[in-house]
Symmetry: C2
Protein backbone atom coordinates (compact mmCIF):
# COMPACT_ATOMS: atom_id res chain seq x y z
CA UNK A 1 0.00 0.00 0.00
CA UNK A 2 2.89 2.31 0.76
CA UNK A 3 5.98 3.30 -1.24
CA UNK A 4 7.44 4.84 1.84
CA UNK A 5 8.97 1.79 3.46
CA UNK A 6 12.60 2.89 3.56
CA UNK A 7 15.29 3.13 6.21
CA UNK A 8 15.90 6.84 6.66
CA UNK A 9 19.39 8.19 6.13
CA UNK A 10 20.99 10.64 8.54
CA UNK A 11 20.28 13.54 6.21
CA UNK A 12 16.65 12.47 5.97
CA UNK A 13 16.40 12.52 9.76
CA UNK A 14 17.92 16.00 9.84
CA UNK A 15 15.42 17.10 7.21
CA UNK A 16 12.54 15.66 9.24
CA UNK A 17 13.66 17.53 12.30
CA UNK A 18 13.95 20.81 10.43
CA UNK A 19 10.60 20.45 8.72
CA UNK A 20 8.61 19.79 11.91
CA UNK A 21 10.31 22.53 13.97
CA UNK A 22 7.63 24.96 15.11
CA UNK A 23 4.85 22.44 14.45
CA UNK A 24 5.72 20.22 17.41
CA UNK A 25 7.10 21.02 20.86
CA UNK A 26 10.69 20.58 21.96
CA UNK A 27 9.46 18.77 25.07
CA UNK A 28 11.18 19.21 28.44
CA UNK A 29 13.38 16.73 30.30
CA UNK A 30 12.82 16.07 34.00
CA UNK A 31 14.50 13.98 36.68
CA UNK A 32 13.09 12.26 39.78
CA UNK A 33 15.21 11.71 42.89
CA UNK A 34 12.91 8.95 44.06
CA UNK A 35 13.46 6.87 40.92
CA UNK A 36 17.20 7.47 41.13
CA UNK A 37 17.27 6.17 44.70
CA UNK A 38 15.43 3.00 43.64
CA UNK A 39 17.50 2.31 40.53
CA UNK A 40 20.91 3.50 41.72
CA UNK A 41 21.33 5.34 38.43
CA UNK A 42 20.52 8.78 37.06
CA UNK A 43 17.28 8.69 35.09
CA UNK A 44 16.30 11.50 32.72
CA UNK A 45 12.74 11.57 31.44
CA UNK A 46 11.75 13.05 28.08
CA UNK A 47 8.18 14.28 28.45
CA UNK A 48 6.44 13.46 25.20
CA UNK A 49 3.16 13.44 27.12
CA UNK A 50 3.52 17.23 26.88
CA UNK A 51 3.89 16.92 23.09
CA UNK A 52 1.21 18.32 20.75
CA UNK A 53 -1.78 15.89 20.75
CA UNK A 54 -0.38 14.29 23.92
CA UNK A 55 2.12 11.87 22.36
CA UNK A 56 5.29 11.61 20.27
CA UNK A 57 3.11 10.57 17.32
CA UNK A 58 2.69 14.25 16.44
CA UNK A 59 6.32 14.21 15.23
CA UNK A 60 5.89 11.51 12.60
CA UNK A 61 2.53 12.79 11.45
CA UNK A 62 3.82 16.36 11.13
CA UNK A 63 6.68 15.19 8.90
CA UNK A 64 4.69 12.77 6.75
CA UNK A 65 1.98 15.37 6.13
CA UNK A 66 4.51 18.18 5.82
CA UNK A 67 6.46 16.35 3.12
CA UNK A 68 3.49 15.60 0.86
CA UNK A 69 3.64 17.42 -2.48
CA UNK A 70 1.12 20.19 -3.03
CA UNK A 71 -0.87 17.91 -5.34
CA UNK A 72 -0.89 15.06 -2.83
CA UNK A 73 -1.72 17.34 0.06
CA UNK A 74 -4.69 18.81 -1.78
CA UNK A 75 -6.37 15.39 -1.59
CA UNK A 76 -5.82 15.05 2.14
CA UNK A 77 -4.34 12.37 4.38
CA UNK A 78 -5.84 9.07 5.53
CA UNK A 79 -5.20 6.31 8.04
CA UNK A 80 -6.98 3.76 10.18
CA UNK A 81 -6.35 4.10 13.88
CA UNK A 82 -8.27 4.62 17.07
CA UNK A 83 -5.22 5.73 19.00
CA UNK A 84 -2.58 8.42 19.18
CA UNK A 85 -1.68 8.28 15.48
CA UNK A 86 -5.26 9.25 14.59
CA UNK A 87 -5.11 12.37 16.74
CA UNK A 88 -1.63 13.17 15.49
CA UNK A 89 -2.60 12.88 11.83
CA UNK A 90 -5.71 15.00 12.37
CA UNK A 91 -3.58 17.65 14.09
CA UNK A 92 -0.82 17.63 11.48
CA UNK A 93 -3.33 17.82 8.64
CA UNK A 94 -5.10 20.74 10.30
CA UNK A 95 -1.76 22.54 10.59
CA UNK A 96 -1.27 22.12 6.84
CA UNK A 97 -4.89 23.03 6.19
CA UNK A 98 -5.87 19.74 4.55
CA UNK A 99 -8.50 17.12 5.49
CA UNK A 100 -7.52 14.04 7.51
CA UNK A 101 -9.67 10.97 6.80
CA UNK A 102 -9.59 8.72 9.85
CA UNK A 103 -11.11 5.24 9.77
CA UNK A 104 -12.16 4.19 13.28
CA UNK A 105 -14.13 1.19 14.55
CA UNK A 106 -17.68 1.98 15.64
CA UNK A 107 -16.84 0.68 19.10
CA UNK A 108 -13.98 3.16 19.66
CA UNK A 109 -14.34 5.10 22.91
CA UNK A 110 -16.14 8.45 22.94
CA UNK A 111 -12.99 10.04 24.33
CA UNK A 112 -10.94 8.95 21.30
CA UNK A 113 -13.63 9.89 18.79
CA UNK A 114 -14.00 13.33 20.39
CA UNK A 115 -10.24 13.85 20.40
CA UNK A 116 -9.97 13.18 16.65
CA UNK A 117 -12.97 15.42 15.96
CA UNK A 118 -11.45 18.07 18.20
CA UNK A 119 -8.45 18.27 15.85
CA UNK A 120 -10.78 18.47 12.85
CA UNK A 121 -10.42 14.88 11.61
CA UNK A 122 -13.09 13.47 9.25
CA UNK A 123 -14.11 10.12 10.71
CA UNK A 124 -15.36 7.11 8.74
CA UNK A 125 -16.69 4.39 11.00
CA UNK A 126 -16.19 0.69 10.27
CA UNK A 127 -16.62 -2.75 11.84
CA UNK A 128 -14.36 -4.05 14.59
CA UNK A 129 -11.94 -6.28 12.63
CA UNK A 130 -8.69 -5.36 10.89
CA UNK A 131 -10.29 -6.50 7.59
CA UNK A 132 -13.17 -4.08 8.19
CA UNK A 133 -10.74 -1.25 8.78
CA UNK A 134 -8.64 -1.98 5.73
CA UNK A 135 -11.69 -2.31 3.48
CA UNK A 136 -13.10 1.01 4.69
CA UNK A 137 -9.71 2.71 4.35
CA UNK A 138 -9.49 1.46 0.72
CA UNK A 139 -12.92 2.89 0.00
CA UNK A 140 -11.99 6.23 1.56
CA UNK A 141 -8.78 6.42 -0.43
CA UNK A 142 -10.49 5.43 -3.70
CA UNK A 143 -13.09 8.09 -3.16
CA UNK A 144 -10.80 10.92 -2.02
CA UNK A 145 -7.37 10.12 -3.40
CA UNK A 146 -6.02 10.86 0.08
CA UNK A 147 -2.43 9.91 0.95
CA UNK A 148 -2.25 6.89 3.24
CA UNK A 149 0.03 7.48 6.21
CA UNK A 150 0.81 4.33 8.16
CA UNK A 151 1.52 4.81 11.89
CA UNK A 152 4.99 3.20 11.73
CA UNK A 153 5.63 1.15 8.56
CA UNK A 154 6.97 4.25 6.87
CA UNK A 155 10.46 5.74 6.62
CA UNK A 156 9.12 9.29 6.95
CA UNK A 157 7.49 8.39 10.25
CA UNK A 158 10.63 6.66 11.54
CA UNK A 159 12.80 9.61 10.50
CA UNK A 160 10.65 12.06 12.45
CA UNK A 161 10.18 9.91 15.55
CA UNK A 162 14.00 10.06 15.80
CA UNK A 163 13.75 13.80 16.45
CA UNK A 164 12.75 12.96 20.01
CA UNK A 165 16.10 11.24 20.62
CA UNK A 166 17.91 14.08 18.84
CA UNK A 167 16.51 16.60 21.32
CA UNK A 168 17.01 14.26 24.26
CA UNK A 169 20.73 13.81 23.58
CA UNK A 170 21.13 17.59 23.27
CA UNK A 171 19.19 18.30 26.47
CA UNK A 172 21.19 15.92 28.67
CA UNK A 173 24.78 15.13 29.44
CA UNK A 174 26.02 11.81 28.05
CA UNK A 175 23.43 9.05 28.31
CA UNK A 176 24.65 5.45 28.56
CA UNK A 177 21.32 4.24 27.29
CA UNK A 178 17.90 5.35 26.11
CA UNK A 179 14.81 3.21 26.62
CA UNK A 180 11.73 3.52 24.41
CA UNK A 181 8.48 1.55 24.46
CA UNK A 182 7.96 -0.75 21.49
CA UNK A 183 4.65 -1.54 19.79
CA UNK A 184 4.87 -1.18 16.00
CA UNK A 185 8.46 -0.06 16.42
CA UNK A 186 8.41 3.42 14.87
CA UNK A 187 9.73 5.21 17.94
CA UNK A 188 12.28 2.51 18.77
CA UNK A 189 13.50 2.47 15.15
CA UNK A 190 13.89 6.23 14.99
CA UNK A 191 15.61 6.34 18.39
CA UNK A 192 18.01 3.49 17.52
CA UNK A 193 18.91 4.98 14.16
CA UNK A 194 19.58 8.42 15.59
CA UNK A 195 21.82 7.01 18.33
CA UNK A 196 23.67 4.95 15.72
CA UNK A 197 24.20 7.97 13.47
CA UNK A 198 25.53 9.89 16.46
CA UNK A 199 28.31 7.33 16.89
CA UNK A 200 26.60 4.60 18.86
CA UNK A 201 27.78 5.70 22.32
CA UNK A 202 24.23 5.50 23.63
CA UNK A 203 22.72 2.01 23.66
CA UNK A 204 19.02 1.93 22.79
CA UNK A 205 16.69 -0.55 24.48
CA UNK A 206 13.10 -1.40 23.71
CA UNK A 207 10.68 -2.13 26.55
CA UNK A 208 7.64 -4.24 25.69
CA UNK A 209 4.61 -5.62 27.55
CA UNK A 210 4.87 -9.38 28.15
CA UNK A 211 1.31 -9.65 26.83
CA UNK A 212 2.32 -8.34 23.37
CA UNK A 213 5.89 -9.61 23.06
CA UNK A 214 6.30 -9.96 19.29
CA UNK A 215 9.30 -7.63 19.20
CA UNK A 216 11.14 -9.57 21.89
CA UNK A 217 10.42 -12.89 20.20
CA UNK A 218 11.41 -11.53 16.81
CA UNK A 219 14.60 -10.00 18.19
CA UNK A 220 15.65 -13.23 19.91
CA UNK A 221 14.78 -15.60 17.06
CA UNK A 222 15.90 -13.36 14.23
CA UNK A 223 12.63 -13.93 12.36
CA UNK A 224 9.67 -11.55 12.37
CA UNK A 225 6.91 -12.91 14.60
CA UNK A 226 3.42 -11.51 15.23
CA UNK A 227 1.11 -11.22 18.22
CA UNK A 228 -1.63 -13.83 18.14
CA UNK A 229 -3.80 -12.31 20.82
CA UNK A 230 -2.23 -9.23 22.45
CA UNK A 231 -3.30 -8.81 26.06
CA UNK A 232 -1.93 -5.78 27.89
CA UNK A 233 -3.11 -2.58 29.53
CA UNK A 234 -0.59 -0.74 27.34
CA UNK A 235 -3.16 -0.07 24.63
CA UNK A 236 -0.69 1.77 22.40
CA UNK A 237 1.59 -1.26 22.18
CA UNK A 238 -0.79 -3.99 21.01
CA UNK A 239 0.41 -3.56 17.42
CA UNK A 240 3.32 -5.51 15.98
CA UNK A 241 6.57 -4.84 14.17
CA UNK A 242 6.62 -4.57 10.38
CA UNK A 243 9.42 -5.96 8.18
CA UNK A 244 10.77 -2.40 8.02
CA UNK A 245 10.85 -1.63 11.72
CA UNK A 246 12.13 -5.13 12.52
CA UNK A 247 15.02 -4.70 10.09
CA UNK A 248 16.06 -1.48 11.84
CA UNK A 249 15.54 -2.71 15.41
CA UNK A 250 17.30 -6.01 14.78
CA UNK A 251 20.36 -4.16 13.59
CA UNK A 252 20.49 -1.04 15.76
CA UNK A 253 18.73 -1.76 19.06
CA UNK A 254 20.75 -3.23 21.93
CA UNK A 255 18.02 -5.44 23.37
CA UNK A 256 14.32 -5.69 24.10
CA UNK A 257 13.07 -6.44 27.61
CA UNK A 258 9.65 -7.50 28.84
CA UNK A 259 7.55 -6.22 31.74
CA UNK A 260 4.25 -7.42 33.16
CA UNK A 261 1.00 -5.43 33.29
CA UNK A 262 1.35 -5.32 37.06
CA UNK A 263 4.77 -3.71 36.74
CA UNK A 264 3.39 -1.28 34.15
CA UNK A 265 0.52 -0.19 36.43
CA UNK A 266 2.89 0.23 39.38
CA UNK A 267 5.35 2.29 37.31
CA UNK A 268 2.54 4.46 35.94
CA UNK A 269 1.25 5.18 39.40
CA UNK A 270 4.73 6.02 40.68
CA UNK A 271 5.27 8.57 37.90
CA UNK A 272 1.87 10.16 38.57
CA UNK A 273 2.46 10.36 42.31
CA UNK A 274 6.12 11.29 42.36
CA UNK A 275 6.65 13.32 39.19
CA UNK A 276 3.09 14.72 39.11
CA UNK A 277 2.76 14.07 35.40
CA UNK A 278 0.02 12.11 33.68
CA UNK A 279 1.37 9.31 31.50
CA UNK A 280 -0.52 6.56 29.71
CA UNK A 281 0.21 2.87 30.33
CA UNK A 282 2.39 2.55 27.20
CA UNK A 283 4.65 5.33 28.50
CA UNK A 284 5.10 3.50 31.79
CA UNK A 285 6.61 0.45 30.09
CA UNK A 286 10.23 1.72 29.98
CA UNK A 287 9.83 2.99 33.55
CA UNK A 288 8.76 -0.50 34.60
CA UNK A 289 11.87 -1.89 32.90
CA UNK A 290 14.18 0.15 35.13
CA UNK A 291 12.14 -0.19 38.33
CA UNK A 292 11.91 -3.98 37.96
CA UNK A 293 15.64 -4.32 37.37
CA UNK A 294 15.10 -5.77 33.87
CA UNK A 295 17.64 -3.21 32.72
CA UNK A 296 20.47 -2.74 35.24
CA UNK A 297 20.94 0.96 35.94
CA UNK A 298 23.42 1.23 38.80
CA UNK A 299 25.79 4.14 38.22
CA UNK A 300 24.47 4.56 34.70
CA UNK A 301 22.88 7.58 33.04
CA UNK A 302 19.57 6.45 31.57
CA UNK A 303 17.20 8.27 29.23
CA UNK A 304 13.56 7.22 29.37
CA UNK A 305 11.03 8.38 26.79
CA UNK A 306 7.64 9.01 28.40
CA UNK A 307 5.88 8.52 25.09
CA UNK A 308 2.40 9.88 25.81
CA UNK A 309 -0.26 10.96 28.27
CA UNK A 310 -3.58 10.14 26.63
CA UNK A 311 -5.47 8.15 29.20
CA UNK A 312 -9.05 8.05 30.40
CA UNK A 313 -8.62 9.29 33.96
CA UNK A 314 -11.88 7.66 35.01
CA UNK A 315 -10.60 4.16 34.13
CA UNK A 316 -7.26 3.71 35.83
CA UNK A 317 -5.32 0.45 36.27
CA UNK A 318 -5.42 0.49 40.04
CA UNK A 319 -8.24 0.02 42.49
CA UNK A 320 -10.01 2.76 44.42
CA UNK A 321 -9.69 3.46 48.14
Amino acid sequence: MSDNRFVPTYSRMIHARELIAGKVHRTPVMTCGYVDRITGGTCCFKLENFQKTGSFKARGAAYAVGSLSEAEAARGSATHSSGNHAQALAYASAVRGIPAHIVMPENASRVKIDAVKGYGGVISFCGPTLADREAELSRVISRTGAAFIHPYDDGRIIAAQGSCAAEFLEQTEHLDMVIAPVGGGGLLSGTSLWAYYQGGETAVFGAEPAGADDARRSFVSGALAGNIRPDTIADGLRTQLSELTFSVIRRYAADIVLVTDEQIAEAMRLIWERMKVVIEPSAAVPVAAVLSGSIPCRNKRIGIILSGGNVDVSALPWSGG
Copy 2:
Protein backbone atom coordinates in the same frame (compact mmCIF):
# COMPACT_ATOMS: atom_id res chain seq x y z
CA MET B 1 2.53 30.97 70.58
CA SER B 2 4.53 32.69 67.87
CA ASP B 3 6.50 35.97 67.83
CA ASN B 4 6.63 35.78 64.10
CA ARG B 5 3.30 37.33 63.26
CA PHE B 6 4.51 40.29 61.20
CA VAL B 7 3.76 41.72 57.77
CA PRO B 8 6.95 41.20 55.77
CA THR B 9 8.64 44.20 54.22
CA TYR B 10 9.91 44.16 50.64
CA SER B 11 13.46 43.63 51.82
CA ARG B 12 12.35 40.72 53.97
CA MET B 13 10.72 39.15 50.92
CA ILE B 14 13.91 39.62 48.92
CA HIS B 15 15.86 38.02 51.77
CA ALA B 16 13.48 35.06 51.84
CA ARG B 17 13.89 34.52 48.14
CA GLU B 18 17.67 34.62 48.36
CA LEU B 19 17.84 32.31 51.35
CA ILE B 20 15.71 29.57 49.80
CA ALA B 21 17.38 29.66 46.37
CA GLY B 22 18.88 26.24 45.69
CA LYS B 23 16.70 24.60 48.35
CA VAL B 24 13.48 24.87 46.33
CA HIS B 25 12.81 24.69 42.61
CA ARG B 26 12.19 27.63 40.33
CA THR B 27 9.13 25.88 38.94
CA PRO B 28 8.19 26.10 35.25
CA VAL B 29 5.32 28.04 33.69
CA MET B 30 3.08 26.38 31.10
CA THR B 31 0.17 27.45 28.94
CA CYS B 32 -2.82 25.51 27.61
CA GLY B 33 -4.49 26.43 24.33
CA TYR B 34 -7.65 24.63 25.35
CA VAL B 35 -8.12 26.77 28.47
CA ASP B 36 -7.40 29.92 26.48
CA ARG B 37 -10.11 29.02 23.96
CA ILE B 38 -12.62 28.53 26.79
CA THR B 39 -11.74 31.68 28.74
CA GLY B 40 -10.95 34.03 25.86
CA GLY B 41 -7.82 35.12 27.73
CA THR B 42 -4.20 34.03 27.95
CA CYS B 43 -3.67 31.84 31.00
CA CYS B 44 -0.20 31.11 32.35
CA PHE B 45 0.14 28.35 34.91
CA LYS B 46 2.87 28.28 37.58
CA LEU B 47 3.53 24.63 38.34
CA GLU B 48 4.06 24.44 42.08
CA ASN B 49 2.95 20.80 41.90
CA PHE B 50 6.50 20.27 40.56
CA GLN B 51 7.90 22.04 43.65
CA LYS B 52 9.97 20.09 46.21
CA THR B 53 7.57 18.01 48.36
CA GLY B 54 4.86 18.55 45.74
CA SER B 55 3.55 21.94 46.84
CA PHE B 56 4.47 25.62 47.31
CA LYS B 57 4.66 24.95 51.06
CA ALA B 58 8.32 23.99 50.62
CA ARG B 59 9.08 27.68 50.07
CA GLY B 60 7.78 28.90 53.42
CA ALA B 61 9.18 25.97 55.34
CA ALA B 62 12.62 26.37 53.75
CA TYR B 63 12.75 30.01 54.80
CA ALA B 64 11.38 29.59 58.31
CA VAL B 65 13.78 26.72 59.03
CA GLY B 66 16.63 28.39 57.19
CA SER B 67 16.31 31.58 59.24
CA LEU B 68 16.41 29.89 62.66
CA SER B 69 19.51 30.76 64.69
CA GLU B 70 22.04 27.98 65.20
CA ALA B 71 20.85 27.57 68.79
CA GLU B 72 17.20 27.38 67.77
CA ALA B 73 17.92 25.05 64.88
CA ALA B 74 19.81 22.63 67.12
CA ARG B 75 16.55 21.88 68.94
CA GLY B 76 14.66 21.16 65.74
CA SER B 77 11.38 22.37 64.25
CA ALA B 78 7.81 21.42 65.14
CA THR B 79 4.29 21.78 63.83
CA HIS B 80 0.94 20.06 63.76
CA SER B 81 -0.35 19.24 60.29
CA SER B 82 -1.41 16.26 58.30
CA GLY B 83 -1.04 18.04 55.01
CA ASN B 84 1.49 19.70 52.75
CA HIS B 85 3.05 21.86 55.47
CA ALA B 86 4.04 18.71 57.36
CA GLN B 87 5.92 17.30 54.38
CA ALA B 88 7.44 20.68 53.63
CA LEU B 89 8.69 21.18 57.17
CA ALA B 90 10.14 17.66 57.28
CA TYR B 91 11.93 18.30 53.99
CA ALA B 92 13.25 21.73 54.96
CA SER B 93 14.47 20.43 58.30
CA ALA B 94 16.25 17.52 56.62
CA VAL B 95 17.98 19.99 54.30
CA ARG B 96 19.28 21.86 57.34
CA GLY B 97 20.12 18.60 59.09
CA ILE B 98 17.79 19.11 62.06
CA PRO B 99 14.85 17.05 63.35
CA ALA B 100 11.27 17.98 62.41
CA HIS B 101 8.67 17.03 65.03
CA ILE B 102 5.33 16.59 63.31
CA VAL B 103 2.13 16.09 65.30
CA MET B 104 -0.42 14.17 63.23
CA PRO B 105 -3.79 12.67 64.12
CA GLU B 106 -3.81 8.89 64.42
CA ASN B 107 -6.45 8.74 61.68
CA ALA B 108 -4.28 10.53 59.09
CA SER B 109 -3.98 8.60 55.83
CA ARG B 110 -1.12 6.14 55.33
CA VAL B 111 -0.07 8.11 52.27
CA LYS B 112 0.41 11.28 54.31
CA ILE B 113 2.17 9.52 57.18
CA ASP B 114 4.52 7.76 54.76
CA ALA B 115 5.27 11.02 52.97
CA VAL B 116 6.33 12.76 56.20
CA LYS B 117 8.41 9.74 57.23
CA GLY B 118 9.93 9.67 53.75
CA TYR B 119 11.35 13.15 54.37
CA GLY B 120 12.67 12.08 57.75
CA GLY B 121 10.01 13.71 59.95
CA VAL B 122 9.60 12.48 63.55
CA ILE B 123 5.88 11.85 64.00
CA SER B 124 3.94 12.17 67.26
CA PHE B 125 0.42 10.83 66.96
CA CYS B 126 -2.53 12.44 68.70
CA GLY B 127 -6.32 12.34 68.84
CA PRO B 128 -8.51 13.75 66.08
CA THR B 129 -9.51 17.17 67.50
CA LEU B 130 -7.68 20.47 67.24
CA ALA B 131 -7.38 20.49 71.05
CA ASP B 132 -5.67 17.08 70.90
CA ARG B 133 -3.21 18.37 68.34
CA GLU B 134 -2.40 21.53 70.24
CA ALA B 135 -1.93 19.66 73.51
CA GLU B 136 0.41 17.14 71.89
CA LEU B 137 2.33 19.90 70.13
CA SER B 138 2.82 21.70 73.47
CA ARG B 139 4.17 18.49 75.01
CA VAL B 140 6.56 17.97 72.09
CA ILE B 141 7.83 21.54 72.29
CA SER B 142 8.24 21.40 76.09
CA ARG B 143 10.21 18.19 75.77
CA THR B 144 12.41 19.17 72.83
CA GLY B 145 12.55 22.95 72.81
CA ALA B 146 11.80 22.75 69.07
CA ALA B 147 10.82 25.91 67.18
CA PHE B 148 7.13 26.00 66.33
CA ILE B 149 6.52 26.88 62.69
CA HIS B 150 2.92 27.68 61.89
CA PRO B 151 1.76 26.88 58.34
CA TYR B 152 0.64 30.45 57.58
CA ASP B 153 0.24 32.66 60.68
CA ASP B 154 3.87 33.71 60.37
CA GLY B 155 5.58 36.57 58.52
CA ARG B 156 8.51 34.36 57.52
CA ILE B 157 6.12 31.95 55.81
CA ILE B 158 4.25 34.75 54.06
CA ALA B 159 7.51 36.34 52.91
CA ALA B 160 8.70 33.11 51.31
CA GLN B 161 5.38 32.12 49.73
CA GLY B 162 5.69 35.41 47.85
CA SER B 163 8.75 34.05 46.04
CA CYS B 164 6.38 32.08 43.83
CA ALA B 165 4.82 35.31 42.53
CA ALA B 166 8.27 36.86 42.19
CA GLU B 167 9.35 34.09 39.82
CA PHE B 168 6.00 34.08 38.04
CA LEU B 169 6.17 37.79 37.17
CA GLU B 170 9.72 37.31 35.87
CA GLN B 171 8.82 34.27 33.80
CA THR B 172 5.89 35.85 32.00
CA GLU B 173 5.12 39.02 30.11
CA HIS B 174 2.85 41.45 31.93
CA LEU B 175 0.06 39.72 33.84
CA ASP B 176 -3.19 41.62 34.41
CA MET B 177 -3.98 39.38 37.35
CA VAL B 178 -2.71 36.45 39.37
CA ILE B 179 -5.10 34.01 41.05
CA ALA B 180 -4.08 31.96 44.09
CA PRO B 181 -6.13 29.51 46.15
CA VAL B 182 -6.94 30.65 49.69
CA GLY B 183 -7.16 28.47 52.80
CA GLY B 184 -5.15 29.91 55.68
CA GLY B 185 -4.05 32.73 53.41
CA GLY B 186 -0.27 32.37 53.43
CA LEU B 187 0.10 32.03 49.67
CA LEU B 188 -2.49 34.69 48.89
CA SER B 189 -0.86 37.10 51.39
CA GLY B 190 2.62 36.56 49.95
CA THR B 191 1.35 36.90 46.38
CA SER B 192 -0.65 40.06 47.12
CA LEU B 193 2.23 41.69 48.97
CA TRP B 194 4.75 40.94 46.24
CA ALA B 195 2.45 42.33 43.53
CA TYR B 196 1.88 45.44 45.65
CA TYR B 197 5.61 45.97 46.20
CA GLN B 198 6.12 45.63 42.43
CA GLY B 199 3.85 48.60 41.83
CA GLY B 200 0.42 47.04 41.91
CA GLU B 201 0.00 46.60 38.15
CA THR B 202 -1.03 43.00 38.65
CA ALA B 203 -4.30 42.49 40.55
CA VAL B 204 -4.25 39.48 42.89
CA PHE B 205 -7.40 37.41 43.39
CA GLY B 206 -8.09 34.67 45.88
CA ALA B 207 -10.17 31.65 44.82
CA GLU B 208 -11.90 29.74 47.60
CA PRO B 209 -14.19 26.69 47.88
CA ALA B 210 -17.80 27.64 48.64
CA GLY B 211 -17.74 24.99 51.36
CA ALA B 212 -14.98 26.80 53.32
CA ASP B 213 -15.71 30.43 52.50
CA ASP B 214 -14.35 32.23 55.57
CA ALA B 215 -11.99 34.38 53.52
CA ARG B 216 -14.76 35.56 51.21
CA ARG B 217 -17.06 36.34 54.14
CA SER B 218 -14.29 38.10 56.03
CA PHE B 219 -13.28 40.11 52.96
CA VAL B 220 -16.85 41.24 52.28
CA SER B 221 -17.78 42.07 55.88
CA GLY B 222 -14.44 43.50 56.92
CA ALA B 223 -14.39 41.36 60.07
CA LEU B 224 -12.49 38.11 60.45
CA ALA B 225 -14.90 35.16 60.28
CA GLY B 226 -14.19 31.47 60.73
CA ASN B 227 -15.40 28.24 59.14
CA ILE B 228 -17.91 26.47 61.31
CA ARG B 229 -17.89 23.17 59.47
CA PRO B 230 -15.72 23.23 56.34
CA ASP B 231 -17.00 20.88 53.66
CA THR B 232 -14.99 20.72 50.45
CA ILE B 233 -12.90 18.26 48.43
CA ALA B 234 -10.11 20.86 48.48
CA ASP B 235 -8.52 19.34 51.59
CA GLY B 236 -5.72 21.90 51.70
CA LEU B 237 -8.18 24.80 52.02
CA ARG B 238 -10.27 23.76 55.00
CA THR B 239 -8.25 26.01 57.31
CA GLN B 240 -9.16 29.61 57.96
CA LEU B 241 -7.52 33.02 57.83
CA SER B 242 -5.62 34.33 60.83
CA GLU B 243 -5.66 37.97 61.97
CA LEU B 244 -2.30 38.37 60.23
CA THR B 245 -3.24 36.93 56.83
CA PHE B 246 -6.63 38.67 56.93
CA SER B 247 -4.96 42.03 57.54
CA VAL B 248 -2.78 41.55 54.46
CA ILE B 249 -5.47 40.13 52.20
CA ARG B 250 -8.00 42.76 53.17
CA ARG B 251 -5.61 45.48 52.16
CA TYR B 252 -3.74 44.06 49.18
CA ALA B 253 -5.96 41.46 47.46
CA ALA B 254 -8.38 42.64 44.75
CA ASP B 255 -11.19 40.22 45.53
CA ILE B 256 -12.02 36.68 46.62
CA VAL B 257 -14.31 34.50 44.50
CA LEU B 258 -16.05 31.24 45.34
CA VAL B 259 -16.33 28.01 43.37
CA THR B 260 -18.28 24.82 44.05
CA ASP B 261 -16.80 21.36 44.60
CA GLU B 262 -18.31 20.28 41.29
CA GLN B 263 -16.47 23.09 39.51
CA ILE B 264 -13.27 22.17 41.35
CA ALA B 265 -13.49 18.50 40.30
CA GLU B 266 -14.21 19.46 36.69
CA ALA B 267 -11.29 21.90 36.60
CA MET B 268 -8.96 19.31 38.15
CA ARG B 269 -9.91 16.73 35.57
CA LEU B 270 -9.46 19.20 32.72
CA ILE B 271 -5.92 20.04 33.86
CA TRP B 272 -5.02 16.33 34.18
CA GLU B 273 -6.43 15.48 30.77
CA ARG B 274 -5.35 18.52 28.82
CA MET B 275 -2.10 19.62 30.46
CA LYS B 276 -1.08 16.11 31.55
CA VAL B 277 -0.09 17.29 35.00
CA VAL B 278 -1.31 15.95 38.32
CA ILE B 279 -2.79 18.66 40.54
CA GLU B 280 -4.61 18.29 43.84
CA PRO B 281 -8.15 19.64 44.36
CA SER B 282 -6.87 22.80 46.12
CA ALA B 283 -4.78 23.67 43.07
CA ALA B 284 -7.83 23.35 40.83
CA VAL B 285 -9.71 26.08 42.71
CA PRO B 286 -8.23 29.06 40.78
CA VAL B 287 -8.68 27.10 37.54
CA ALA B 288 -12.35 26.63 38.40
CA ALA B 289 -12.60 30.38 38.99
CA VAL B 290 -11.58 31.16 35.41
CA LEU B 291 -13.45 28.27 33.76
CA SER B 292 -16.69 29.15 35.55
CA GLY B 293 -16.45 32.79 34.56
CA SER B 294 -16.27 33.91 38.22
CA ILE B 295 -13.29 35.98 37.16
CA PRO B 296 -13.76 37.51 33.67
CA CYS B 297 -10.70 36.76 31.54
CA ARG B 298 -11.52 37.89 28.00
CA ASN B 299 -8.46 39.51 26.41
CA LYS B 300 -6.67 39.48 29.75
CA ARG B 301 -3.36 37.90 30.69
CA ILE B 302 -3.98 35.73 33.75
CA GLY B 303 -1.49 33.97 36.01
CA ILE B 304 -2.79 30.90 37.85
CA ILE B 305 -0.82 29.27 40.65
CA LEU B 306 -1.22 25.47 40.54
CA SER B 307 -0.35 25.17 44.20
CA GLY B 308 0.31 21.45 44.60
CA GLY B 309 -0.02 17.91 43.31
CA ASN B 310 -0.30 15.74 46.40
CA VAL B 311 -3.35 13.60 45.81
CA ASP B 312 -4.24 9.98 46.40
CA VAL B 313 -4.63 8.77 42.82
CA SER B 314 -6.78 5.87 43.94
CA ALA B 315 -9.44 8.20 45.40
CA LEU B 316 -10.35 10.71 42.71
CA PRO B 317 -13.32 13.09 42.70
CA TRP B 318 -14.91 11.64 39.59
CA SER B 319 -16.63 8.37 38.92
CA GLY B 320 -15.19 5.43 37.00
CA GLY B 321 -16.24 4.34 33.51
